[in-house]
Symmetry: C2
Subunit: 237 residues, 2 copies
DNA sequence: CCAAAAGTGTTAAACCTACACCCATGT
DNA sequence: ACATGGGTGTAGGTTTAACACTTTTGG
């Protein structure tokens, strides 16, 4: 579907007033990053709309795949953002004007939207972002150094950041941020980054192993200075 | 808004293809009950639609208040149900025909709906249910003895039941199911009912008190057989 | 005074914490 | 050999579990 089609056909193809947004989180060089797209001079979350003939879940996976190139991306529902005047009118207007496109006030794009926000944890190395119809660029931003963003999108990212902190306490899901095979030191550092605090190395290691979620691979990794760590993989059910 | 208005104006007033449903849960005579409404020969969850000029949250509270008569009802988001063919066409058709109403296939009521399901914990005694536009009756059903229900509404109730089990482990929220002042034996029985298992009385009591969420009232309650229990109240922040 | 209900104690096991210690490896 | 990074051990405190004990009250 190209640009023109999208604008013209959107109203017929998609469920109106409903969008799906994704906070796509990766881990790179000890920092949590979030994938954003640029439209005009501000950034926004990867997102999309639900086809009238498609389930919300399907739309979510489809949108994720389109933007990340991943076959089977992880994702989890985050929250509904449904403010009474949640519109992107100003942002779209600016974009259309700047690009010499014909701006119409009453396009479906300018309607009030309820969005179903999700977060997705991805392997930074495996993720090959692809920009969408309107997007000028993509970039990974440190969760603590977000750029100017559309509407409430920054708030959505911060909600995801906090939710991740909570979820990590109850579920084993952070391995989604690492390659299939990873070491305990890597997982340890990741947890410290997410929680923003130091975690005892010894205790962390034992807790993770005791959780039974991981299986140790007899191989060791090639590294440089110290002892070589074991690798781990998520235990298949 | 009366019946006719609702059908005719609905399309203009409400966000299309989006509904809000509520699993309203009460606790009565040692059993968890769920408030359902009757339309035709099946039952459904209290629910409604979001005004175009209203936030989702506002709609949720409004719908809850309308059906329960409670001023400040508790509620928590449950899940999105967004199947690709989630329609009530058959159910509405049957209802309209049986009531000699003119049925139109392509009314907004028969559209595909994405619903935002919530659960609400209420004080059974304080809740005075009110039926809505189409409803013939309301009733409280034991969560384990649900009647025939519309579409996926039974699934939604079961999702709420399971979610409640999980949430109870992490948050102090079950007091919403009891009167403002309650005893530990009451809270104990409630937890046992929700979890479906026996909990050590001694440990439960100490855990609850240690949580610091409750304050003991020096009063005792009048009862019949044994010792009189303390009453507790949620500690104000 | 006895049974029932509610509250409190007791003990052992399990778990968490904060380190200390030991092993492997590159320089 | 030694600094670095990784893995494991241990002593202490805290929390949990299971059940025993005590207090209060109605009959």
């Amino acid at each position: 579907m190209d640009f023109q089609e999208f604008i013209e056909q959107g109203e017929k193809l998609f469920l109106p007033n409903l969008s799906v947004d994704m906070v796509i989180i990766g881990f790179h060089e000890g920092e949590l990053k979030c994938l954003l797209l640029k439209i005009g001079d501000k950034w926004l979350l990867p997102g999309g709309y639900v086809f009238r003939t498609e389930s919300v879940e399907n739309a979510t996976v489809r949108i994720l795949r389109e933007r990340t190139g991943l076959k089977d991306p992880h994702f989890k529902f985050l929250s509904v953002f449904g403010g009474e005047d949640r519109k992107f009118t100003e942002e779209w207007k600016q974009f259309f004007v700047e690009n010499n496109l014909p701006f119409k006030e009453n396009t479906w794009l300018n309607d009030r939207f309820v969005t179903l926000a999700h977060y997705s944890l991805v392997d930074f190395e495996k993720t090959k972002p692809v920009i969408g119809n309107f997007d000028e660029a993509f970039a990974w931003f440190n969760l603590d150094e977000l750029p100017k963003m559309w509407m409430d999108h920054k708030e959505i990212v911060l909600t995801a950041k906090n939710r991740l902190k909570e979820d990590i306490q109850h579920e084993q899901l952070t391995y989604n941020l690492l390659p299939k095979e990873f070491t305990m030191p890597q997982l340890h550092g990741l947890h410290q980054t997410i929680l923003g605090e130091k975690l005892d190395r010894s205790r962390f290691q034992k807790k993770m192993i005791a959780s039974g979620a991981f299986e140790r691979l007899p191989k060791l990794q090639k590294d440089s200075p110290g002892r070589k760590p074991f690798q781990y993989r998520v235990k298949k059910a």
